[in-house]
Amino acid sequence: MEITTQQYKHCDLVWVSGRLDSATSPQLAAALQAITDTGRFKIVLDLSAVEFISSAGLRILIHAQKICKRYNRGQIILTNVPQNVYAALDLAGFTTLFKIMNDNLTAVGNI
């Protein structure tokens, strides 16, 4: 798993690759918390390179989304969601809880 974070004026773009399972999800949780801990709650999460996501990975996403959306501070937008990852989001009933966009430019421009 690799995670890179790019800070923009309006938001942060997080790119994560590899497997999001019980072993690796804590790293993503830490990366997202590093952002929200600085008072930044608009996050674009690029999932293009995620090969696999388990409920442990989904748990991180929903937890971070709650943190970001509290008091209308912000949100997490998901981009470039691979089909398998989308299927997992859908199974958990999470697709209505995140804006899902096709590309980072649209997400960064609209968050």
């Binding site: 497997r19 072993a23 696999f52 409920s55 989904l58 398998n84 299927a87």
Partner: protein, 140 residues
């Protein structure tokens, strides 16, 4: 029948995933079914480590696969504590964000993604979880 034993820690999940994908491929499952089997097995093993053993490095996970004409049968064995799957409530899949939980999805995923899911608990054999995935044409 192919079997492998893995240490009960999260690090094992990647190797377990490779093992199970390989078996699912050989069983002739389509690529989306392979992904669903990978997910169900990941959830099952995570639960064994987290709930049955109540932590990492407490015990082993035995994984066996039976490739049959109709599909793939997966058997997971551990020596942790038993539990009553009937007592586990189904997760809430609708409603506002604040009322949704990141917890409680694993068992639901296993049941949704596999065609059969059966738990057997026995002092002698340990906990046994049997999951079956059928090929498309053998369904229903």
């Amino acid at each position: 029948m192919r079997s492998c034993t893995f240490p009960g820690r999260y690090e094992s999940l990647t190797k377990i995933a490779s093992f199970i994908r390989e078996a699912a491929r050989e069983a002739g499952l389509d690529s989306f079914s392979i992904y669903t089997v990978e997910t169900a097995v990941d959830e099952a093993c995570t639960n064994i480590i987290e709930h049955s053993y109540q932590g990492e490095n407490k015990g082993k996970i035995d994984l066996s696969c039976k490739i049959e004409r109709s599909g793939l049968t997966i058997i997971l064995r551990d020596d942790g504590i038993p539990f009553d799957p009937e007592q586990v409530p189904t997760p809430r899949l609708e409603g506002p964000l604040e009322e949704r939980q990141g917890r409680g999805l694993g068992l639901y995923f296993m049941r949704e993604l596999m065609d059969e899911v059966r738990f057997d608990f026995d002092e002698k054999t340990g906990n046994i979880l049997t999951m079956v995935k059928y090929k498309e044409k053998h369904k229903g």
